[in-house]
Each structure stands twice: as C-alpha cells, then as structure tokens.
C-alpha cells in the first residue's frame, strides 16, 4: 500500500539516504534496522511527512503522493508513535486520544462519546485502561498504548513505531507485542524500529536493513539469521564481542557492601547484574546508593569503610559513580559542551577551572572511548545516543570512580556503541573496579555479569551465578516465583 522508490536526501552536502527503495503491505510488521546514523530516522521522517525527499517518489495505494507535513500524512492514515512520548500528562486518557479533535455536540465536548470510543479503541488493542484516568498516573507501558490508541482512533492504516520498547521491561514489551499483533490482524501496517534484534525476530514479518544511508536488503524475517542481520547492519562481526563471556576477574576484597532492607556486596573486579521487571526497584536502589534521594536508608561500606551518603557529592567523594537510566534527563547537561560534561564531576575541588587540563582530558576520553564528536567544544545535544552515553561514562572515568552503578547503560543505543560500552565495562572490571549494573535486557546481563541478583517488588528475590543463570530462571525469580 506504500511504496518508496529511489528516495535520496542530503543535509548540508552529506547524503544521508542514497536511492532507498521501501515497500509496505497491509497487515505487515516491517522492521527497519541499522546503526544510529544509518538513515532510519530520516527515512521514517520522509514517510511520515516531517521531511521531504530531495529525489525519488512515494506511492500510496499505487498513486504518487506528495506529503506536505505530518498533519497531511495523518489525514491520509499515516501516524507515528514517538520514542519521546507526546502526551499531555495532566489530561485524561480519552482527552489525549482525541487531542485536537474532540467529538463535539452543540459546541461542547461530548465526553460520553469520547470515553466510549476510547474504551472501544483500547479494547481493540487488548487493554483495559479507564479513559477517565489521568495519563500522569499511568505506567510507561500504558502511556505507550494510549499513544497507539491515538493513532488507531485516527483510523491510521500505517503506524510508525520508533523504539517503542526502549523504556519497557520484558513483561510490558510482551503486552505491547500482543497489541501489535491485534493491529496487524486488522490489516494495519507497522514500521517497527528497534535496536533489540530479538524483538525483530519475534514480531516482524519482513526486515529492511540500512547501512550508511544505503539499502542493504529487505527479506522475510523468517529467512534471516541473527548473525546475517548483525553483519548486514555493521559490516563486521560484532556479535562475538557482544556475547563473549570473559572469565571472571573478581577479587576477594569487597568494594561495595550494602546492609539494609536490601543486602548486597560487590567485589573488586566483579560485575554484578541487577535484573527485574520495570518497577522492581533497581533504579531506586542504585540512585539511593548514590545519595540521590537524600540520606541513604541502608548502611553502605566502600572498600570496607562505612560512608555517609546524604548527597551525590558524598558518593562521588567515596569513588562511586552513577550512570543513570535516563541520560538526557539525569546524566547530561545537553546544551553544554562535551568538555564541560566530562569535567562536571571531577573538577569541583579547585576554585579556578583548569581549562587546558580539562581540554586535554576531554580529548583523551574522546579518543579512548571513540566518542564521535566534532571536538571537545561541541554541545552534547548534537551527539547520537551512544556517543552521549560514552560522555556520561567519560565523566566518571575522569573523576576516577572505583565503584560504578550503571542503570540501563545501553538503553536506546546502537549495536556498535553497545559493543564498545560492553568492552569498556569489562575493561573497568579488569582494572579492579566494582560494577553494579541494572538492565532490562537479559542477554546483556548474561553476557557481562559474574553474578545476577534478581529483584522483585523492591527486594531481592534471588541470586544466580553466571554458570547457573538462564533467562528462564531470571524471569521466574523476577515474576515472584520461588526457587
């Protein structure tokens, strides 16, 4: 029903799309994969009317079409569900679904009809959410469904989903997939962008790979192996690097010990994984350990010494670092330069800023972590997600941290950057640092962690060594099962 032919697009002389061909059938989930910068967003923006191609043509039901803007695309039945949710939290579910086109009766909003229609749309997606509830009260997973419901209520025939599962736990992602399958059964076509390859195999019918702005292939997903897909995306075999399990270098000295409602120790050179469903409490645990919520309720020992953590500054003085789950909201000063961000935690001991030293440090980490930036002075807002995350990491490496609390360290970043961050985490452990790492991607924990601690509703449900850990056992503990 949609066909794109020879689509090209350049920005400032750089060709980001080179004669791309793409087509979409009704009732199909078409995965679009590629590293960051491969051209996925540009292509999707062209298909949803946000950008115009420099050349090439779009056909909609076999007829040429020119999309003026996203409004026009929506009117034709093309909607996007964005990574950054575009909902108004202070309004109800129904008001969000019908935002901008409330059903009206005699000049007034017809709430009865609005609630009824919202309930029907949500039922079509297999979810029961009270249309009267405020969006602010909903979980991230439910908010996403509200966004999708909005697209469905618009009678959309094509829905673009950009990294919909990035903020979701495994469990919520499954619920999302059920909704996607219901949509597919009704003949809606979906373009599905994700960095999680396993999801692509689970949900998509066909997959298109882009690399450096070129079309690599489009094939039925069932005929592609994961290796083929990864190789097509990155051109080299990164898979091994992603999954290699280096031997544990854990030493006997305790680097971090928590004694409270949650009891946990991390040794020097050890990577401990924290698994759990969304809301199981790993973010609260890590941020609490860092003093982010005021006085920590637990006793914390670093290198055997009791430390008082009332403010992140206390944690930093004790050599603790936190890579937060949301780098844009908590990790970076987006408008500030790479250099400023890298120096933010380390450089506070002195009164005067030592610019030359900080510039040298920034250049060092840009090279060492292979941060793709124009230079130390470039604002981090212009970097890709993976490079932004490396800046967050560089901040703590420069600050000389010895205990690393990593909360979803590879959320929403491409495979290449992910492999580099894995390498760096292993290197940190190899140098004797202690790593406590929470992730909702089980493969990631299985690949990196020496031990996996599973959380359930704010407390520890169990612990698995790297030898005994499997996805099934982790999920069993995470959903409240007992050994």
């Amino acid at each position: 029903m949609l066909e794109a032919r020879n689509i090209s697009k350049s920005f400032g002389g750089i060709r980001v799309l080179k004669s791309i061909a793409f087509d979409l059938q009704p009732g199909e989930v078409h995965a679009l994969v590629g590293e960051n910068g491969a051209g996925k967003s540009t292509l999707v923006n062209i298909l949803s009317g946000a950008l115009r191609p420099d050349s090439g043509e779009l056909l909609w039901d076999g007829r040429p079409m020119q999309l003026r803007d996203p409004r026009h695309a929506r009117a034709l039945g093309i909607s996007s569900v964005h990574q950054e949710l575009a909902l108004v939290p202070q309004l109800s579910v129904a008001e969000n679904v019908f935002l901008g086109r409330h059903p009206v009766a005699r000049g007034l909003v017809n709430f009865g009809e609005m609630h009824g229609r919202t309930r029907r749309v949500l039922a079509e997606l297999g979810r029961e959410i009270d249309p009267r509830r405020l969006v602010a009260e909903l979980s991230l997973a439910d908010r996403q469904i509200v966004e999708i419901a909005r697209a469905v209520a618009f009678e959309s025939r094509l829905i673009v989903m950009d990294e919909p599962t990035a903020p979701l736990s495994e469990h919520d992602a499954q619920a999302l997939f059920r909704s996607i399958r219901l949509l597919r059964a009704r003949g809606v076509a979906l373009i599905y962008i994700s960095h999680r390859l396993r999801e692509i195999f689970e949900i998509s019918d066909r997959v298109t790979v882009l690399r450096d702005g070129s079309h690599v292939f489009t094939r039925p997903t069932s005929e592609v192996t994961q290796e083929e897909l990864v190789r097509a995306m990155i051109g080299t075999e990164l898979k091994e690097r992603l999954e290699s399990r280096a031997a544990s270098r854990a030493q006997s000295e305790e680097a971090l010990r928590i004694e409270g409602p949650v009891r946990l120790t991390v040794h020097r050179g050890e990577i401990v994984g924290l698994a759990g469903l969304a809301g199981a409490g790993s973010t609260e645990l890590l941020e609490g350990l860092f003093g982010a919520h005021g006085r920590a309720s637990a006793e914390v020992l670093v290198d055997g010494r009791r430390v008082r953590l009332r403010h992140p500054a206390d944690a930093i003085r004790s050599g603790i670092a936190l890579v937060p789950d949301d780098r844009k909201a908590k990790g970076l000063v987006l408008g500030a330069s790479v250099q400023h961000n890298i120096a933010l935690a380390a450089g506070r001991k002195r009164f005067l800023v030592r610019r030359s030293l900080e510039e040298r440090a920034a250049r060092h980490w840009i090279t060492a972590l292979r941060i793709r930036a124009a230079g130390p002075g470039q604002p981090v807002v212009y970097l890709s997600g993976g490079n932004q995350q490396k800046v967050v990491l560089a901040k703590w490496l420069f600050a000389g941290a010895r205990v690393f609390l990593l909360d979803e360290p590879t959320r929403g970043i491409d495979v290449g950057a992910k492999a580099e961050i894995y390498d760096r985490i292993r290197m940190l452990a190899g140098e004797g640092a202690a790593v406590l790492m929470a992730s909702s991607e089980l493969e990631e924990l299985l690949a990196l962690a020496d031990r996996i601690v599973v959380m359930h509703r704010g407390s520890i449900a169990g612990e698995l060594t790297r030898e005994e850990a499997t996805e099934e056992k982790i999920m069993h503990l995470a959903t409240g099962g007992v050994d």
Binding site: P312, A313, K330, V333, A343, L344, R348, A374, Q378
Partner: protein, 316 residues
Amino acid sequence: MSGLLRRFGPLLGLLILCAALGGASDRFLTADNLLNVFRQSAVNAMISLGQLAVIITGGIDLSVGSILGFCCVMVALLMHAGVPPAIAVAAALAIGLALGAINGILLTKLHLPHPFIPTLGMMNVARGLALVVSGGFPISELPSGFRFLGAGSIGWIPAPAILVVLCCAAFSVFLGRTTIGRDIYAIGGNRQAARLSGVPVDSRLILVYALSGLTAAVGAIVLAGRMNSGFPLAGVGAELDSIAAVVIGGASFLGGVGTVSGTLVGALLMGVLRNGLNLLNVSAAWQTVVIGVVIVAAVWVDVVRQRAAERTERIG
C-alpha cells in the same frame, strides 16, 4: 561565521544603533554625551550582572529593584545618623547580600515552586521596608566623599563606569573561569544532571541570589551618590530593566546560557536608546513603547540566529 555572529550579534546591534543615532542627532556622538550614557547605564548594568547569574540558573529575581530602593534609603539614613560613609556602604552591601540570600533560602529550603514566588514576596517586603524606614520621604544631602561613587570622575572617566567595568571583570572570571561559575551554568542546563554529578545545587542557588542582592546594593550606592539622596522609590521597575538587559544580551530564560559581555552590551543598548530618544525629543511615553519593541525584537533575532546555528551544527 555563525559563532562570531552569535558572540558579537548584540554588540553589532549596539554599534548600528549608535551610528543611526549619531546620524539623527549631532549631539549624540560627543564625548560628553557618551560618558553620560555610561553614567546613566551604570546602575542597570550593575543590577543586570546579578540578574544574569540568576537567569543562567534558570531563575528570575524580581526583587532587585526593591532591594536597591531599601539599600538606597538605608545607606542615606546611616550617614545622616553620623555613621562614616565607608561603614554605611559596607552595611548597605551586607543588607543587599542578606536579602538576596533570604530569596535563595526561601527558594531552596522551603521548596517554593518557582523563583518568581520568593522574589515577588521580597519585592514587596523590601519596598515596604524602604517606605517604612524613610517615612516615604527622600533623605537628601549626602557627604561628598560618598557621592564620588555615583557622581565623581577619575580624569574624564565617570567613577560608576569604572566600578561597572571592575564588577564585569569580576563576574566574567567568576562565571567563566571558576568551578562555582561552571556549576551555575550546569544547574541552569540540567539541574538533575548537575545534582547527580555532585553539584551542591542548593548552596549554589543561595549564593547566586545573594550575589544578585549584592549587585542591587552596589547599584543603590551608585544611584544614591548620583542623585545625592536616598529615596524610597528608587529602582521601581529596575528588575524589569535588568531582565531586559540580560535577555537582549543573549541569555536564555531556559537557563544554562548567558554571558557578562552580552549583558553589558544589553544594558548599554538600553541606555543608548533612552539617551538618544531624549536627544531626539521623543516623549517618555513613546520611549517606553520603543524599548518594549526592542526587547522583543532583540530576543527574536537571537532565536532566529540560534535556529540557524542549530541547523548547521546538527549536520556537522
């Protein structure tokens, strides 16, 4: 190119304005008149420095005009009571600093939702106190040694202009070269990330509001010296002039952005505009209209420039 334009855009605007006014009035581009502009702009420039620091943190200080009024009355009253000028000046500075610090403490420790609230409160309290202690009347005839700071000159350079330059230099080093200054930018850029990087956000904010109170007190001393009196309605509306100077100078209300040089240019631009319109016999009422238009136009130009810069940066 766009970087240069961003840096010197406000300055370019100022120069164009000066050239235009020089063409329109032969009295504008005389040494006497330009020195006069510096003297007239000094008070606003001074307050704007503190306001700049506040706006960089993403805040706003509505109380500077009233703090200026209160300090103006207090310094005059103290000298009338026989306190030596140096001590009276020190006391006025301490009062400004303390009132500003109270703003910061109210903001951070009472968790008031926005700096608008505590500084709006302080704006009323300080103005009220100025009227109470003065009984509503100006306190005139101040010692000549004191008046030097507002009305004197060193050679042909007005003393307040020298004071402004010194304070600009100090603020420039403070904001640009010290770790505390950098914390201030980081707080405005992303408060949460700054906190999670170990920045003591609360104490930095208290310091920033205290400094804003301090610069208002310095402004009060210059103004009292120039007018040879402490009058309780001094600085009415000064908070808005200082905000205008800061935003004309390229600072962002969203926080994290702003420079001392831009702010100084912003304050001079407003001074030049007022002076030039006076020379051209434009009525005070129309002057207000023009200044309103200039504020919006200056910020709009900045927005356009920023968008253009973003477009080139994103591709690079």
